[in-house]
Symmetry: C2
Subunit: 266 residues, 2 copies
């Protein structure tokens, strides 16, 4: 996410100089070699910048904000994490106006600098949360960036965001990890996978995602996740009952209902 943002901001000529920090010296080196960042700096130095973009696991964002000292008191800090309520609420009030809680609704199953894509954000939606808590200048600058990246900006309460993100992002990830585990637990995994075509590939793609990144998202959003899971399991149980009673009518009704999705969602 961070590497893609750096490439995109350079491509649209918004930023002339990108300074980077990564807790992994190896990733930092790769980012420099790939030309994603112009210079590697220490974490302390990052707070001197005009804009600090946090593209790190969601618990790390919360922790960093709780102890950060801003060398530039007017800095705009944009957090790109997948959960927004905790970072928005736990950010110390002394620097809360500096923070814009953003969630670009794009990404891939890959992470690290070699996964960076200059057009990752192009045409996608970005959710900005709890803007009433952010400073006027910080909001203005953030919107300028996302407009320049040709993104559609949606404003939302962070609690509502987290609930929606649970259904359309976090639950799909959990499903994907789970179907991967289901197949891996079969005796004949290898021969099952020999036959795998588009359907399974799509459904298991997200199972490549980073456990470090996702365990923090799942835990921060656990109340919503438990509700999403319960709702999803109850839909599965409806199919199970229809299968148990071999009822073509019940199965048809469930699938016809699901088909409706594509009348309201292209």
């Amino acid at each position: 996410m961070g590497g893609s943002m750096a490439l995109a901001m350079k491509k649209c000529a918004f930023a002339t100089k990108i300074l980077g920090y990564d807790s992994s010296p190896e990733n930092a080196k790769i980012a420099l070699e790939l030309g994603i960042v112009d210079e590697i700096i220490s974490f302390e130095e990052t707070t001197r910048a005009d804009i600090l973009i946090l593209a790190i696991p969601v618990e790390a964002s919360v922790e960093i904000l709780s102890s950060i000292t801003l060398a530039n008191p007017n800095i705009t800090i944009i957090d790109l994490g997948s959960t927004k309520q905790k970072v928005s609420e736990d950010c110390p009030l002394t620097i809360r106006a500096n923070l814009v809680a953003a969630h670009p609704m794009s990404g891939t199953e890959y992470s690290g600098p070699s996964a960076a894509l200059a057009d990752l954000y192009e045409g996608k939606t970005v959710v900005l949360c709890d803007l009433q808590k952010s400073g006027v200048n910080q909001i203005k600058l953030t919107k300028e960036i996302f407009n320049k990246l040709n993104m559609k900006i949606v404003e939302m309460d962070s609690a509502v965001h987290d609930k929606h993100a649970g259904f359309i992002s976090h639950l799909p990830h959990l499903m994907s990890f789970s179907i991967a585990n289901t197949v891996l637990n079969q005796e004949d995994t290898q021969s099952i996978l020999t036959l795998a075509a588009g359907g399974f590939k799509d459904m298991s793609r997200l199972a490549k995602s980073s456990p470090v990144m996702w365990r923090e998202i799942f835990i921060q959003n656990r109340q919503n996740m438990l509700q999403c899971l319960s709702a999803f399991k109850s839909e599965l149980t409806k199919f199970e009952s229809a299968l148990e009673s071999s009822s073509p009518d019940e199965l048809t009704a469930l699938m016809e209902n699901a088909n409706r999705l594509y009348k309201i969602f292209k």
Copy 2:
């Protein structure tokens, strides 16, 4: 599936004349207009051909074979359905040698003649089941076709096929219908879908699939489906428990296990 096969067989110059029958006169007309078939014939006439390809709901295949009279006693009938045990076992013995039970591991969420794609089968795997029950000439001709289409041929017992297809094709469809229903049952469906990005789009793509086609696959394969569903639900329950106890270690272990899929499956 049938339209794509017709286009592919013409493209590779295997077939010079394609005769088509569809129980829907409207679809038959579209197939003719799109140049997928050269002529529309009655169902009775189809049995005069050299090769009859059945690309119809799986229960329809079973029913048709039980009552068909072959005008050409040497005809090769290739059934393309997603379940293979019932069609293989229920086919009358008098015509069983004419039948080759095949399952091309490709397809899209769309059906009907306007969804036909000439390269749908290119480079994909096709499973041929219970070949000991098919005639030598029928097997030879079928393999010639699939080789000409540049497909990878895998031979398999039909019961094993149905079990494997349950995990890598039928369960993913059931999951996709269920996540569509989960989101559709939320009060704020519209606003959730506004945010939907790649992950949700991939996971819900199969929810566009035809209920008529899928109810028959689910019912024919219900014993395997109930086992797949039970295995999948138990994987979801592991995530649920890890979430309930807010255990990063349990979540990490589940996701690291899922990540292994991509070491054995590219």
